[in-house]
Symmetry: C2
Subunit: 429 residues, 2 copies
């Protein structure tokens, strides 16, 4: 863990640098080859990749109704009830994001309207591996359902036994997603981008994954498919005052660290006491956790930065633009009003990041690596686009017309001018 | 112009194909080299490129206050008044898009909030060439100002005389944008992405351009910079009934065609009469327009498609997902409710696309090439991101805690579980 005191502003850029893995040409090449193979459109390429990467020998890619029904029997009642709580909260918050049409009469006879419309077909990618990310199923599928997306396709790799983790199937079916295919990695992204025999092409692809998945998402954007956002390693910034319980801060650092060796945790504080106490408390808690080696590696690039000036501290936070920002301060409300760049913000001492990761109602698919400067986390908008409509009456055309004609002419677009003039001068019968 | 009658559904995909220029490796290589050169950070590379591409010998890239003041003197009063009308309408419609914070108590003691925040620094690119796109200055700068973007940088190439077109400078200063730099093409995009001596780096880049500009925008997204949207040739779809004045439809086709040889216009109609009358009316109007050769080339890939069934016609429109959709039908209101995919929609006979291109109030930076399936046109959101906040009380932590703990454990994330448990079990003093 590195420590800094009042770092000068010209050092901030360096301090905000993420442990970004550099682009690896061999990853790009491998992914381009996978895309080419999947693009041919039959399922054979997908089945071969699944056999190669996971050992699963699949005759059919689609998860059957029977498999979904069986999965429900393998999920504990405790977990079912937890998932129900998460669904209720996530649904409530994302339903509140539904936008009423905006309608404005900009000039007499000229009415403009903006409406939110769903993306017709979306694809959700859920990685396999040891941690079954069923929470991500909820975070993506619930807003997709609320938005009204007509077709929601979910791809996730099966294990070597050809089965998808039951918690993933249960979470998907609990929110009404039943079109699930057993394929993972870059090949799953390619399948959803171009469509294959059994998997439909979608217009937008969501979800986390390893570097191959991320590279594939970047590459398919070149072919007209949209993606949720670019992604990097997860990160948390904690802003704490002297009253913040040190065990909470340590626990938040550790929970970030268990995500992976590239994860980053940063403490900003005006309290020398808090800064000094953190390392020992982390050591103490770590001893009772699994994955200690992973956590230790991740903590190597965590940082503790103390500031004498609170405004400067908040400026630094905004420059960093953290994915997760925990404000563990008594006056969290005042400080929250200074937040300009962050993915999701956790206010006060009793609001751990884990609450938002799972069940408070906010989304956990968030911009990392400083992308919070310009990207939103996944929200209802992510599954919609906004379409504008306008209507002009004959009288509106006459009053707006001269402005349109003058501007079109000044841009040298005489046919544009003419299209307006014909309406202005039309003899209404 | 090609004609089709009731094309079968399995032919729609082909009919919806755009005249997309295939990716050219030499464009990608040239752009990558330009990016590398500009990335070094001094202004020399930019000045050399401007000399090479436009012939302008620049000592300083920044447009001076004196140049802006002088430009105002070169713009006619008629155009100033037209620009004022456009500013008023665009401002009114985009101001109405400001979002109030969404706040929801998802569970007793758990409050979630979503707020719209501006992107701190944005870059607007305005191409040079024969048509001074001052209307695009308005379409990008007005929502940026309303969003509250702290710094708005505008790049546009100077002519060989080292001057920027006065209408561009006037439009920019009329909406309060005064940080303007004389640079164009891929080098301007690179400058805004990485920053140079005189040009600040921004977080998001907007605006149209040629294939080098588009390629540069795509490439800089790999370095953490966001862009408005991918772009292709402009296009219009007109849906007309038998009462639609044929001269209006022809004028709309011609105004689309003058954009460039790749532009596409498509008529959908249930009226054989309208379909039959269009070509002659286009010929008639074209004779009095400039740029006839360009227009003729563009019209080669325009299409007239007749349908017997209106629902099928609307399905086709949604499959095509036009950038601009004109519904020149008496019952435009009913038909507009069937629109699921489009950039901007023009309702009725007196609402030409040119009105929205300049002054009705809607934005003219819109998704082309079928991107309207998943992308919105530029709107207030484009200059903002949405940040979520959450606050949990000690009691809220106790009631939400068990769900979070169960889910974290099921995902194998024990430190996540622990961060929640510590709050649940904390002995409040």
């Amino acid at each position: 863990m590195e420590s800094y005191q009042n770092p000068p502003r010209d050092s901030w850029r360096g301090l905000c640098q993420r442990a970004m893995s550099t682009q690896q040409p061999e990853v790009a090449e491998t992914v381009a080859e996978i895309i080419d193979n999947v693009r041919r459109g039959d399922d054979t390429a997908l089945k071969e990749y699944e056999l190669k990467f996971t050992g699963a020998r699949l005759t059919s890619l689609a998860v059957t109704e029977a498999e979904i029904a069986a999965a429900a029997g393998e999920v504990s009642d405790e977990l079912k009830s937890a998932i129900a709580t998460a669904i209720a909260n996530i649904s409530k918050f994302h339903s509140a994001q539904v936008m009423e049409p905006v309608e404005v009469v900009t000039t007499s006879g000229v009415t403009c309207r903006q409406c939110q419309m769903p993306v017709d077909r979306v694809g959700l990618y859920i990685p396999g591996g040891n941690s079954p990310l069923f929470s991500t199923v909820l975070m993506l599928a619930i807003p997709a359902k609320i938005a009204g997306c007509g077709r929601i396709v979910l791809c996730t790799p099966a294990g070597a036994d050809g089965k998808v983790h039951p918690a993933i199937l249960y979470a998907a079916s609990a929110v009404g997603v039943t079109e699930i295919y057993k394929t993972g990695g870059a090949q799953a992204i390619a399948a959803m981008a171009f469509g294959t025999e059994s998997i439909p092409a979608v217009y937008k692809i969501f979800g986390p994954g390893n570097r191959y998945v991320m590279e594939a998402k970047q590459q398919v954007t070149r072919y007209g498919v949209a993606i949720d956002m670019p992604a990097g390693p997860s990160e948390v910034m904690v802003i704490a005052d002297e009253k913040a319980p040190i065990e909470f801060i340590a626990a938040d650092f550790l929970s970030q660290a268990e995500h992976g060796p590239d994860s980053q945790s940063i403490l900003l504080t005006c309290s020398a006491g808090v800064a000094a106490a953190l390392p020992a408390e982390i050591e103490r808690q770590m001893s009772s956790l699994p994955k200690q080696e992973l956590i230790s590696r991740s903590l190597e690039h965590s940082r503790v930065i103390t500031f004498d000036n609170r405004d400067e501290m908040m400026d630094f936070a905004n420059e960093y633009a953290p994915e997760h920002l925990i404000i563990a301060c008594e006056d969290y409300e005042a400080l929250s009003r200074k937040v300009r760049n962050a993915g999701s913000v956790f206010l006060g001492n009793f609001t751990p990041e884990s609450a938002g990761d799972y069940a408070s109602g906010t989304n956990h698919t968030l911009p990392t690596s400083g992308y919070a400067h310009s990207y939103s986390g996944v929200n209802l908008d992510s599954f919609c686009k906004k379409i504008t409509f306008q209507h002009i009456t004959p009288q509106g055309a006459r009053s707006l017309g001269p402005a349109v004609e003058a501007m079109a002419e000044a841009e040298g677009l005489m046919a544009h001018r003419n299209a307006m003039s014909l309406r202005v001068n039309y003899n209404l019968r």
